[in-house]
């Protein structure tokens, strides 16, 4: 195994050399063109930012070979040596499995080579993540270690901190965990863990407890958010959050018993308590009082690692289920001959295709040197892939019927594991709010002058808007420049592209109307924001599949006609979904039941019971 590791290292080294010679890197400081804009944010304005999205990001042949060299041993290891059933039954990843994962270098995928990691790009770690995701528990353990636990040190650590901690973390000698959630309390302050500076000002004394810490029981290094007293610019003393790197050896660190979970049973999720833990001042991560930024950045980037790994699981799932459907006979026919079963496979393939496309598109964006803020994109990938995974696994289990419900089959374990993805690393509801609000903030600040003029009811502006509305409804053909240029989308996908453009255009219009209607109070309109987020996710998915399918056609990948089929079906479905949602966002739409929905739930929550009388009740 160590041989394998050595081999991986050399490969990584070779890649660095090649990266140094990469023309992209040398082109970077010149920047002759305007800076790239984030794709999703531009969608809110009804525009499509083609840079970075069309054409689909590619890796060079050398890089591809290199990834495949990584992938081979890992794939073999997961196929032959990882017993997911056993991990699930025993609720623990066996030590030898962990040791092999470490020796494969999987604990340091994204740690720079300088510090002993593999230094993989986002694209490459997504590829490896696909394989890792064959076992949910291992995937979550690794994600918590490197996407959350040590990410803070990579992003914000000083040179000394990196040199001290990263090598041991990359080798897997130490496991990292990220601690920010605290037990729920009634009062407003969500972080109660406190770090007080000792009198000699050499260290902080940390007190408090954190809950839901993945790897909490096995981690040696914790990134902890705690309140500290900070003197503000105006001289007043305030409580601010600061991030600390805490070693278990500092003392006073205890952890609770890992909870008995529904899924992801091999992962170690527990409470961690800090009692008079003495943290040296040099272990402050980032600035003192700058913990909020650390936390937000780590969470934003950490989301991607969990969201992007689903594709591998879905590939495996489709294989497993297709095998069963083609062998099993029912009513003298094979299961695979029934339309309702075929429909489920089409759905799974479509979802898997979209998830893959979105993941690798986003990974490519993140890897680009001029990467703008892609936090919306990563959040969208997480939401879409976790929901897609849950839906696909559930449908696959349906195909198996009762057999899938039995523990002998991997389906039930996958179902339980997939359920957790819907709420890990920010529940999907929270992420939808994040997606919508971040985009609306962007669009809102750009549209401010226009909306203000409209609000002041300048006649000219109002007339222009009305004329525009009229023109929109009477019949305009939307052209955002994706079809004209033959280099963007392949003509055989022309129909889907028109649909995408139409959706994007009217989405921009709807966002403008929403901002005009609600302004900053849109924060309170969660149902509206959910719809905005859903449209955006659909649009992003459409873009990703179109971009990927075009590339496949153009370079002549095998089975690209199948890709075209998947892409057009996906786009068609997403298009009609979008039309429906956009119609619901209209103020007087009869399909918008928000008020009624709110009323129903208000009544129920007021009484805290299902109110209706029993159907057998009588009045006399």
């Amino acid at each position: 195994m160590s041989g394998c590791r050595l081999f991986l290292r050399t490969a990584a080294g070779a890649r660095t050399c090649q990266a140094l010679m990469d023309p992209r890197a040398s082109r970077r400081p010149l920047r002759t063109c305007p800076p790239r804009r984030a794709f999703a944010k531009e969608l809110f304005l009804g525009k499509i930012e083609k840079k970075g999205v069309f054409p689909f990001p590619e890796v060079s042949q050398d890089e591809l070979n290199e990834i495949n060299q990584f992938v081979g041993p890992v794939e073999r290891f997961f196929a032959e040596e990882v017993d997911s059933g056993k991990i699930d039954r025993e609720g623990k990843i066996p030590d030898d499995t962990l040791a092999k994962l470490k020796s494969l270098g999987l604990f340091g995928m994204q740690v720079p080579e300088k510090y002993g990691g593999l230094g993989l790009s986002n694209t490459m770690s997504t590829r490896l993540g696909e394989i890792v995701s064959l076992d949910g528990s291992i995937a979550v353990t690794l994600a918590a270690h490197q996407a959350l636990g040590l990410k803070g040190i990579v992003l914000f650590g000083t040179e000394a901190q990196k040199a001290k901690y990263l090598p041991r973390l990359a080798s897997g000698e130490h496991v990292a965990a990220f601690c920010f959630l605290e037990p729920a309390r009634n009062d407003a302050a969500s972080i109660r863990t406190r770090a007080t500076l000792s009198e000699d000002e050499t260290h902080y004394v940390l007190n408090g407890s954190k809950v839901w810490i993945t790897n909490g029981g096995i981690a040696e290094i914790f990134t902890v958010l705690a309140k500290t007293k900070v003197v503000d610019s105006d001289g007043s003393e305030k409580d601010r959050i600061t991030a600390f790197i805490v070693e278990r050896d500092f003392g006073g660190v205890t952890n609770g018993k890992p909870g008995d979970k529904l899924g992801l049973r091999g992962s170690n999720i527990c409470e961690v308590h800090f009692e008079d833990t003495r943290v040296p001042v040099v272990n402050v991560l980032g600035e003192i009082g700058g913990g909020f930024k650390v936390a937000v950045d780590v969470l934003n980037s950490g989301r991607f690692s969990l969201g992007s790994v689903v594709a591998g699981m879905l590939r495996r799932l489709i294989e497993l289920t297709a095998e069963y459907a083609c062998e099993r006979k029912q009513f003298t026919r094979k299961l695979s001959e029934f339309g309702l079963i075929q429909e489920k496979f089409a759905l799974m393939a479509q979802k898997a295709y979209a998830i893959e496309s979105m993941s690798y598109l986003t990974a490519g964006m993140l890897d680009h040197p001029e990467c703008p803020d892609c936090s919306i994109e990563t959040a969208m990938v997480k939401v879409f892939s976790s929901e897609g995974a849950w839906q696909c696994v559930s449908e696959a289990l349906q195909i198996l019927g009762g057999l899938g419900y039995i523990k002998d089959h991997p389906h039930e374990r996958m179902l339980r594991d997939a359920r957790a993805l819907l709420f890990l690393e920010g529940t999907n509801e929270i992420l939808r709010m994040f997606i919508a609000l971040t985009g609306l903030q962007h669009a809102g600040s750009i549209l401010t002058p226009r909306i203000k003029e409209l609000k002041e009811s300048r006649v000219a502006i109002a007339m222009e808007t009305m004329a525009r509305r009229l023109w929109d409804t009477v019949g305009r053909t939307v052209d955002l420049g994706l079809t004209d240029d033959p280099g963007v989308v392949h003509p055989s996908l022309g129909d889907s592209v028109t649909k995408l453009e139409e959706n994007v255009f009217y989405f921009g219009r709807t966002v403008e109307t929403l901002l005009l209607r609600f302004g900053k109070t849109i924060v309170e309109e969660q149902l509206v924001m959910k719809r905005v987020a859903n449209v955006l996710i659909n649009l992003y998915g459409m873009t990703a599949v179109l971009s990927r399918a075009s590339r496949s056609i153009r370079i002549g990948l095998r089975d690209h006609d199948h890709e075209v089929l998947l892409a057009s079906t996906f786009c068609m479905e997403a298009y009609f979904q979008n039309l429906f949602i956009l119609a619901q966002l209209d103020k007087y739409d009869p399909g918008n039941l928000d008020e009624l929905v709110k009323k129903v739930s208000q009544r129920i929550l007021e009484k805290r019971t299902y109110i209706c009388a029993h159907p057998l009740d009588r009045t006399t």
Partner: protein
């Protein structure tokens, strides 16, 4: 037309005969309560008896000066209890049956029904549908039905019809829903277009609609214990369902009551978690007030409660709390835009809202003096440590200007008095007709 009438007549006659047969069947003297009555016997409330504990809760109504001279009603002696007999449903049924036995021609049945209506409360059958049906069954069948259109136009047998309406009236005021048997009896007695039938139809319509009209329903049978009643009252007032009721002090049980100074009034309080939080945040510089007693009526009982409140913060001291930045690490809690909701999406009415100061807790105590309420505050301090450092001012209303609870011996007669008022009402009705 006449043909149709004839058919109808035949039908109604047939029904009438069946009714008579049935009535005679019902009318046979039963040694016991008929089975129908048995079923609802246990649902009927026990006769209203005042206990010692609730004396203080029942206020004295305005004393009425006039007293009608009592004239014994014709059939009063039927309701004289047998020596050693109790007044319950069985004896009520027996009284009605003995009337029917004594009086085959049912002479004076209207008077008897009025009398029986007045007696129902004494026998504890005022909410018993079977008892009302039994009363209606006294009417002779088929006699009062109009037989031609002139009879139908004019009130046929008005006194009897009014009596039937009086029975239904009493059912209505006691919340008894008539059933099919009632309807059948009324059809047999008065016919389809009669006043009692109209009344019945209206009751069947409106009862179902008004049954659950009260969004804050009070149970029909109130608990008898003072602590239980206080708990019910507090929960009735408290909008927050997570509020917890605490019994700070239980009244001494009746059997060990010593005369003299060992009286221990009950103290029951309620507080919600939100109120606890608000109290913990309350600045010790601002005093709290214990105010009361305020009255709360639960059906025919009244409880008095006190509140622990503070004055409204002056506007400049508010809004000091800012949302801490870490409150939500996942998404921004507010947008940085300088335009708000536009007018045509603003559905808020322009209401002048008068804000009141916070209420931190409520209690119901057996006595309204400062000593008792101080015990409540002491009890509150256990769950609200902050309360120890906040000054508490007792602003208790004196005995003037409020409904005082009766401490005298009038209370046990409360029910009788109510009964008597009803009697008066019925008598007046009767007199008005005859």
């Amino acid at each position: 037309m006449s043909c149709v009438r004839a058919v109808l007549l035949v039908q109604s006659l047939a029904r009438g005969r069946a009714g008579i047969r049935r009535a005679s069947h019902l009318g046979t003297p039963f040694p016991q309560v008929p089975p129908l009555a048995l079923r609802s016997l246990h649902c009927s409330s026990a006769p209203h008896t005042s206990e010692k504990s609730e004396k203080s809760l029942v206020p004295r109504p305005p004393e009425s000066g006039k007293r009608l001279a009592k004239v014994p009603a014709p059939w009063e002696d039927l309701f004289h209890p047998a020596p050693g007999g109790t007044r319950d449903k069985a004896s009520f049924v027996r009284a009605v049956q003995s009337f029917e036995q004594h009086n085959v021609h049912k002479r004076g049945h209207v008077d008897f029904i009025y009398l029986a209506l007045r007696k129902m409360r004494e026998y504890g059958v005022e909410r018993d549908l079977a008892a009302y049906n039994l009363l209606l069954d006294i009417f002779p069948k088929e006699v009062f039905r109009p037989r031609n259109f002139i009879q139908q136009i004019f009130l046929h047998y008005p006194r009897q019809q009014e009596c039937g309406v009086a029975v239904l009236d009493q059912m209505e005021s006691n919340g008894v829903m008539p059933n099919k048997e009632t309807k059948f009896l009324l059809l047999q007695i008065f016919g389809r277009g009669s006043h009692p039938m109209l009344k019945l139809e209206r009751m069947r319509l409106w009862f179902t609609r008004f049954q659950h009209i009260n969004p804050f329903p009070v149970p029909r049978d109130l608990p008898h214990g003072a602590v239980e009643l206080a708990t019910l009252g507090l929960q009735h007032m408290e909008p927050d369902l997570s509020a917890r009721v605490t019994v700070y002090q239980r009244p001494l049980p009746d059997d060990v009551t010593d005369p003299g100074d060992l009286i221990q009034p009950h103290i029951v309080g309620i507080q919600s978690p939100d109120q606890q939080d608000a109290l913990a945040r309350h600045s010790p510089a601002r005093p709290l007030f214990v105010e009361g007693p305020f009255s709360l009526w639960l059906r025919n009982k009244c409880v008095y409660y006190h509140i622990l409140r503070a004055d409204l913060l002056p506007p400049k001291e508010k809004d000091l709390e800012e949302i801490p930045e870490e409150w939500n690490l996942h998404y921004p809690m507010k947008l940085d835009l300088d335009y708000a909701r536009s007018g045509w999406d603003d559905y808020e009415f322009d209401i002048d809202e008068v804000e009141e100061g916070p209420v931190f807790a409520m209690c119901v105590a057996g006595a309204h003096d400062q000593e008792t309420l101080a015990k409540w505050i002491q009890g509150l301090q256990e769950t609200n440590p902050a309360l120890a450092s906040i000054p508490v001012v007792f602003q208790l209303a004196g005995s003037t200007g409020e409904l005082l609870t009766a401490s005298g011996p009038e209370d046990p007669r409360q029910s009788q008095r109510e009964g008597r008022e009803e009697d008066d009402h019925l008598q007046r009705q009767q007199q008005g007709q005859s």
